[in-house]
């Protein structure tokens, strides 16, 4: 079975993530959608590692996970702080800065 399925699947995941970012209000969920996009990339990387027969892809995937973890830490910290202030995780409420 062809690898392109994986690529297409990954692309679909990525798109879902992207759309999620656009449509969801809850900061946490939005952030999870970003994570989904990252993981779609991981899948792509693994697939390509397979197809090109190199290990770089898998190594990169590992890097990505580490970075993603770091991102989660930072991200949640920020989101928490604003949540505690505003008592709401809706990113649409954070709308003081505009125009």
């Amino acid at each position: 079975m062809s690898l392109s399925y994986y690529l297409v699947f990954a692309a679909i995941l990525f798109t879902i993530g992207a759309v999620g970012v656009l449509v969801r209000r809850n900061a946490i969920v939005v952030f999870m959608c970003v994570e989904l996009m990252l993981n779609a990339v991981n899948l792509t990387l693994i697939t390509f590692a397979r197809s090109t027969g190199t290990v770089d892809g898998q190594i990169i995937a590992l890097f990505v996970m580490v970075v993603a973890a770091a991102e989660v830490v930072v991200g949640l910290a920020i989101i928490m702080s604003i949540y505690r202030t505003r008592r709401s995780a809706s990113i649409d409420d954070a709308n003081l800065l505009k125009y």
Binding site: L22, A94, N95, L96, K98, Y99
Partner: protein, 635 residues
């Protein structure tokens, strides 16, 4: 035109003619109040000295039997092919004018000492008067058209300053402006003529231009001639630019006498006479000169019949008389001398008349309304006598100056021996009749009849410092004609300039002409006596008058025409343009700025502050970028 000699002897100093009055003006203007006490004396002295010098120069000129002297002074403008040297040309023609200007000028300076005695601005007055004399001498002595142009506008300035001498009177200020503007219109013509000369001949000096003008195409020469004529009309108050001259009477009377009767207004005649070599080559331009002269002659005479303002009447008389001179010089070689003779004679009697009018006003508390004069002949005997002689000279009373010079012109006109000759001659004769009419009317209203003075007016004769010049001028008006025509013939003197006077066989015998003209003149006098002298002169001008009179009173609607044709449209245009500039041109600029601001705030709306909007924008951007790249690479 005979070859010029290097100026030696006194002629080498002829630049002093201009320098002296100029220095006088400078001293008086810069000296300020310190010079108030003796300023007028200095002013008169400089001009008198200039006169003496002019006489001496003329004598020397006569000594070298009229061979013109060229006085190179310094390089004025020299660049590229243009080379204008500031220099003077002292030849019989300019000599005549120099004598007239300085002679009449010094008389009028003397007169003014008395006339302006009580005016706080007397020093300023003499400064301006000196300035005028200097400019006028430059005009007639310059050796190139550029020098002439400089003097030309110089006298314009002096005239402006003197007309507006009593500048607190709105009338005077406006009249001065009007005079300057209408002169400028003429100056444009003069300037363009000079441009053509340079473009075609590469020079602007008299010698250069007259030497080579023959090589030009007829059309070009005609163009030059017509443009020069435009200039002449502006300066000499000829149709269509005559309207400023009567208004110029707002100036002090000596000014009217010197500038607006004797000298400046005749500059146009000088220009045409000076440019004889050009006009000789272009019959067309000459024809136009004739037409202008004839037309103005009538306009002036007709308007002169209707005014009650003594100075205005004299002014229109001047317009009309200069019309005679134009007519004369328009006739070409045959008429130059006649025209100039009339110019000189006119210089004497018209100046005299104005000074007389001044003395009358002096007596009548500066009133100029002839309807409030009358019966002054025994109150102002000297004025009456001198004025009377001037009057007789002007209307061409036999064997006084006007008689000779005017007849000469009519002769010359008839000598053309064609239908136009008869027309012009007829017009001239008719003019003579009208002249007689309005001048007689003036005499009657001023000196005879019942005294119609405003109460509290006690006429008294002017002081000798004023009457003396009047006497001299009166003598001149009586004698000059005979002198110039027979005793000391002008034609001979001007021969170096205009060449041998062609000995034309007369179509009509001069005696006959003299007789006819005299008869017509007597008719005019008679008419005047019938209309004015016989009956009582109403103190207020009658309102219900014939259309002819009304037209004459409005100087044939010259001002109305100017206003409706130029002034009002100009004002509308200006107002319209101001609007265009603010709303249109500037509006476009500000509009652009406003547009940017507007689009800025509109674009700013896109910056909603919602993360998800931004993300959408980024996604859209990403799609576009990817799409674009794919498009570029695939196609």
């Amino acid at each position: 035109m005979s070859e010029t000699l290097p100026a030696d002897g006194l002629l080498g100093w002829s630049w002093l003619l201009i320098a002296l009055p100029l220095a006088g003006a400078a001293v008086l203007l810069l000296g300020g109040r310190r010079t108030d006490r003796w300023g007028h004396l200095l002013g008169a002295a400089t001009v008198a000295t200039a006169f003496v010098l002019a006489v001496l120069c003329t004598v020397q000129l006569a000594g070298q039997d009229g061979a013109p002297a060229d006085v190179e002074l310094f390089t004025f403008i020299a660049t590229g092919e243009l080379d204008v040297t500031a220099g003077l040309l002292f030849d019989p023609l300019s000599a005549v004018f120099a004598l007239l200007i300085t002679g009449v000028g010094s008389l009028i300076h003397v007169y003014s000492i008395g006339y302006m005695a009580h005016d706080p601005g007397r020093r300023r007055f003499f400064a301006y008067l000196n300035l005028f004399v200097a400019a006028m001498l430059l005009l007639v002595l310059g050796n190139s058209f550029v020098a002439l142009y400089v003097g030309w506008e110089g006298v314009g300035l002096a005239s402006y300053l003197l007309i507006a001498f009593w500048y607190t009177r709105p009338g005077a200020a406006t009249a001065a402006k009007k005079a300057f503007i209408m002169n400028r219109v003429g100056d444009v013509g003069l300037a363009l003529a000079i441009f053509i000369m340079f473009a075609q001949l590469g020079t602007t000096s008299y010698a250069g231009v007259f030497g080579t003008v023959g090589t030009l195409a007829g059309g070009t020469i005609t163009a030059i001639g017509l443009l020069l004529l435009l200039g002449a009309c502006g300066k000499s108050g000829q149709f269509p630019l005559q309207a400023w001259l009567p208004d110029a009477m707002e100036g002090p009377t000596p000014v009217s006498a010197l500038i607006h009767a004797a000298t400046m207004v005749t500059a146009g005649v000088y220009l045409i006479a000076r440019s004889a070599p050009i006009y000789d080559l272009t019959p067309t331009a000459r024809a136009v000169v004739l037409a202008v002269g004839a037309l103005t002659l009538l306009i002036g005479a007709i308007a002169g019949c209707a005014y009650d303002d003594i100075k205005k009447v004299l002014a229109y008389s001047t317009v009309s008389q200069i019309g005679y001179m134009f007519l004369a010089v328009g006739l070409g070689p045959a008429g130059y001398v006649a025209g100039l003779a009339h110019l000189l004679a006119h210089g004497f009697f018209k100046a005299g008349l104005f000074l007389g009018a001044g003395s009358v006003m002096h007596a009548m508390r500066d009133s100029v309304d002839m309807r409030r004069f009358g019966a002054l002949w025994n109150k102002l005997p000297i004025t009456f006598a001198t004025f009377g002689l001037g009057y007789l000279a002007l209307i061409g009373f036999p064997f006084l100056s006007g008689y000779f010079t005017k007849d000469a012109i009519i002769e010359a006109a008839l000598d053309r021996d064609d239908v136009w000759g008869w027309v012009l001659g007829g017009v001239a004769v008719l003019g003579a009749g009208l002249t007689a009419f309005y001048m007689t009317r003036l005499m009657l209203m001023t000196f005879f009849g019942r005294a119609r003075w405003e109460e509290g007016v006690h006429p008294h004769e002017a002081p000798p410092v004023m009457t003396a010049p009047m006497v001299v001028l009166a003598v001149g008006s009586v004698a000059s004609g005979a002198l110039l025509v027979s005793v000391f013939p002008l034609s001979g003197w001007l021969e170096p300039v205009f060449g041998e006077p062609a000995e034309a066989e007369h179509v009509v015998a001069p005696a006959v002409i003299g007789l006819v003209v005299t008869l017509v003149m007597l008719l005019g006098v008679l008419a005047a006596w019938l209309f004015v002298g016989r009956r009582e002169v109403p103190v207020a001008a009658p309102v219900r008058v014939s259309p002819v009179t009304r037209a004459a009173r409005n100087a044939l609607y010259a001002d109305a025409v100017n206003e409706s044709l130029f002034m009002r449209p100009g004002q509308w245009l200006t107002r319209a343009l101001v609007w265009v500039d603010n709303r249109g041109v500037d509006g476009a600029v500000n509009g652009l700025a406003a547009g940017l601001g507007g689009s800025s705030s509109r674009l700013g709306r896109a910056q909603t502050g919602f993360v998800r909007t931004y993300a959408l924008g980024m996604l859209g951007g990403a799609v576009v970028v990817a799409g674009a790249l794919l498009a570029v690479t695939s196609g």
